[in-house]
């Protein structure tokens, strides 16, 4: 039987690495994961917050949070371990397009 991996184990493995957090209501956060608890409240370092501009939803407001933060787990929808978030995703797509052309 294949070994099973619990969801929280997956997050535990991501400690110390970059993690991309998609929140309810189209907010996103990227940061270095320092720790978490059973409610999936997260402690993050060097977090960057991506929020859609309330006046112009196509415009994304990027905000660097220099200090360590505790992110409330109840707004968290999806965690992507090892990802640098929307910016690095766009870079990857650009690179792939360049390789193809």
């Amino acid at each position: 039987m294949a070994t099973r991996i619990l969801p929280l184990e997956l997050i535990d493995k991501a400690i110390g690495s970059q993690i991309w957090i998609l929140m309810r209501g189209s907010k996103e956060v990227v940061g270095t994961l320092r720790g978490f608890d059973d409610y999936v409240n997260l402690v993050l370092d060097d977090a960057i917050e991506y929020t859609p501009d309330p006046n112009d939803r196509t415009n994304i407001i990027t905000k660097k949070l220099d200090a360590e933060i505790l992110l409330n787990g109840n707004q968290i929808a999806i965690l992507v371990p090892g990802s640098g978030g929307p910016d690095s995703l766009a870079q990857q797509q650009q690179q792939q397009q360049q390789q193809q052309s």
């Binding site: 320092r34 309330p54 949070l65 220099d66 200090a67 505790l70 409330n72 707004q75």
Partner: protein, 101 residues
């Protein structure tokens, strides 16, 4: 009076002993207690002040509180204020922060 004994109720096994690199939300909360911090609510409003008191629901009692609106402008100041935990998006230790936004 009898000593409280371990009732042997099944519990979720704790992940291995906490490493030095790991920093759980409760570690974080202990470290920011009594220190200046920024609390951001789901609505986007920010409160800066000294964290006087905290609990597990992220209910917060804050002193010397400054309220900043969505535009980053100072909206109000409070000597003491209570923030109900369900509104809290994140708590940031204010160590490396500038006073402005």
């Amino acid at each position: 009076m009898s000593e409280p004994t371990n009732t042997g109720t099944p519990q979720v096994p704790e992940t291995a002993a906490p490493e030095d690199t790991k920093r759980t939300p409760s570690d974080f909360l202990k470290s920011v207690l009594g220190r200046p911090a920024v609390v951001k609510l789901n609505s986007g409003i920010e409160y800066r002040g000294v964290l006087a008191c905290l609990d597990g629901y992220l209910n917060i009692a804050m002193e010397q509180t400054q309220e900043f609106g969505l535009d980053g402008q100072l909206k109000a100041t409070y000597g003491d204020c209570f923030i109900r935990g369900n509104n809290v998006l994140h708590i940031s230790s204010q160590a490396k922060r500038k006073t402005g936004l």
